[in-house]
């Protein structure tokens, strides 16, 4: 039984209610996204430090180990290929790899739906280095764990990395991922990119030195290092399989709106990206707004989360410190153009709605509010924006009737 669950007086009731409500004070999604955008700037993969001798000795050991490990894998791979072709390897049976019917339809033999129904689900060993591949005219459905399934097209291969994440090695795969538990994400890698999802359907292609992701349902994020871009249903994205050092992750492109071109190398900034924001904050605390703006302007020219944060902060300072709301809206709009799927996109959309509403620009604020509701249907601020939109609509109607 909880303390003061049966309060004896008004004071105890007030105390109990306060404690219960304090337990619900978990912050809103926008605050969490904004903090993550700052934290992600700090994240770096730990660099192992080895001496030259250790590296040499390690390489020698690895060479021997690789030989020992590779043999059974090569053997198993040949067995799987035989299974996919409908021919059981001599003297072997693998209960985890059911034989396909001999007339497995390829693209020319039937529709995709037919192929899906007739292709058995392969429960592959999800171990690092294990490969499932298809040859010309073959299709395969591979169980990836947690109810996720990959449908491999012909001439495609899927493997598992050291963290046991599925990895599309070549060709094309359609992935169906059931909704994941809160706090859990499903991820699949392709070249240097990690595609993370909560629950969705999407295609991943690794063809001609290029990686492509196309989202059919839900939302996915494509990550490389600490850089990411977010894709929603209908979006597609392409990135180079071997990106240049320092090249930012390309933004998403809606197929009908923008061509799927490979990205141009990101402009380099003279300021270290991760230092821009703290320096600007220090300048602001010291009361030097101009210096903060100068720092943020330089940082915003770079790429990645640091530039994204700087671009957003620049607009925020223009709004609240310099008190120039129109200019702030223009800067936030610029942020949206540069980072259409940015980490602070929700916050930016919301800031624009609020600023336009405070400016009394009813028509523009209403259009932005409607766009916000359409773009962020699951946002925690949905109800607030809905109420604001209703008030704006009423104000517009009143103004029209005059």
């Amino acid at each position: 039984m909880k303390w003061l669950e049966e309060p004896k007086n008004e004071a105890e009731r007030l105390l109990r209610e306060g404690l219960d409500q304090a337990a619900e004070r978990t912050g809103d999604e926008i605050t969490h996204r904004r903090v993550w955008a700052k934290v992600s700037e700090t994240l770096e993969a730990p660099q192992p430090r080895f001496s030259g001798r250790l590296v040499f000795a390690g390489a020698a050991v690895l060479l021997v180990a690789a030989g020992l490990i590779a043999y059974p894998h090569v053997r198993r791979l040949s067995q799987e290929r035989a299974v996919l072709s409908g021919v059981a390897p001599k003297g072997t049976t693998n209960p985890a790899m059911p034989l396909l019917p001999k007339n497995v339809p390829g693209p020319a033999a039937g529709t995709n739906a037919d192929a899906e129904q007739q292709t058995a689900l392969i429960e592959a060993e999800r171990k690092p280095g294990h490969v499932v591949s298809t040859q010309k005219g073959e299709h395969a459905r591979v169980a990836l764990g947690g109810g996720a399934v990959a449908e491999l097209a012909e001439n495609s291969a899927i493997t598992w990395d050291k963290q046991q994440r599925p990895s599309i090695e070549k060709g094309s795969a359609r992935l169906s991922v059931p909704h994941q538990q809160p706090g859990w994400r499903f991820s699949v890698t392709a070249g240097p990119y990690v595609v993370t999802v909560v629950g969705t359907k999407f295609d991943v292609r690794v063809v001609n030195h290029s990686v492509g992701v196309e989202v059919t349902e839900g939302v996915v994020e494509v990550w490389r290092g600490s850089h990411s871009t977010r894709l929603v249903a209908g979006d597609s994205w392409h990135g180079p399989l071997y990106p240049e050092e320092g090249q930012s992750i390309p933004a998403s492109a809606a197929p009908a709106e923008r061509p799927q071109a490979l990205p141009a190398p990101a402009p380099k900034t003279t300021l270290p990206p991760s230092r821009g924001l703290p320096e600007a904050q220090a300048a602001l605390q010291a009361g030097d707004t101009n210096k903060a703006v100068e720092i943020l302007l330089r940082a915003a020219q770079g790429s990645g989360p640091a530039a994204e944060n700087a671009a957003y902060e620049l607009a925020r300072i223009t709004r609240y410190n310099l008190n120039r709301p129109r200019q702030a809206v223009a800067l936030w709009d610029k942020y949206r153009t540069r980072f259409p799927a940015g980490l602070l996109r929700t916050e930016t959309d919301l800031s624009i709605v609020e600023t336009l509403s405070q400016l009394g620009d009813v028509g523009a604020a209403l259009a932005e509010a409607d766009a916000f509701l359409a773009r962020h249907p699951a946002s925690e601020r949905r109800l607030d924006v809905q109420k604001l939109a209703e008030r704006l609509r009423a104000a517009q109607a009143a103004s029209d009737s005059r």
């Binding site: 039984m1 105390l15 004070r25 969490h32 903090v35 934290v39 993370t196 990550w223």
Partner: protein
């Protein structure tokens, strides 16, 4: 005894095995795993630091500093305690440090006779009860406040709290007893 049966865990859907997997992936430099860790513990950090008196305008910076501290010291996490307990420990230290700084600033302000800055209120926290609770909690000494918040708001057991604050279980019960008495007295003063 009612107190001893208080066994609500802070994150009931997540097992220590899942945390162990997450820690392993984070240590391997997997940014996506860091995002999962952040998503999982950001609400906890926000709630805990709020209850420990970190003001609205400092909460984002506090959360940022706490997760960066988690990132930098995760390699020292031995897995002997739960990940949540370890994060609570980092967050508690940080919140207490911030409180100390705030008190110093306040003392400086009084000495310089400068104008008191406006207190910001989080629009998502318009509840009178929470605001009243915060005023009562602010009167508790930091050690008693931490124990009360961990037990009554975060739902940790006395054993877990003793791991977080680094004192024997008996001391936890003693601090909790005194903190509760002081809170009831404060509540009575507010509601005559």
């Amino acid at each position: 005894m009612g107190q001893k049966q208080h066994t609500k865990t802070p994150l009931p859907t997540q097992s220590s095995f899942a945390d162990a997997e997450l820690v392993r992936a984070c240590r391997a430099g997997d940014v996506e795993a860091w995002r999962s860790l952040y998503d999982r513990y950001a609400p906890l950090v926000h709630r805990f630091t709020s209850a420990l008196g970190v003001p609205v305008d400092e909460r984002e910076d506090a959360a940022q500093d706490i997760f960066i501290a988690v990132y930098r010291s995760l390699r020292h996490f031995r897995g002997e305690a739960q990940l949540s307990t370890w994060i609570y420990r980092i967050a508690a230290r940080h919140a207490i440090r911030l409180g100390r700084r705030r008190r110093t600033r306040e003392a400086m302000r009084l000495m310089m006779l400068t104008e008191k800055p406006a207190i910001l209120i989080d629009p998502s926290e318009r509840s009178t009860q929470v605001a009243t609770l915060d005023r009562m909690l602010a009167k508790l000494p930091p050690k008693k406040r931490t124990v009360l918040v961990l037990f009554e708001i975060e739902g940790l057991s006395a054993k877990e709290i003793s791991d977080v604050v680094g004192c024997p279980e008996n001391t936890v019960w003693s601090r909790l007893h005194h903190a509760r008495s002081e809170m009831v007295k404060a509540a009575r003063r507010m509601v005559p």
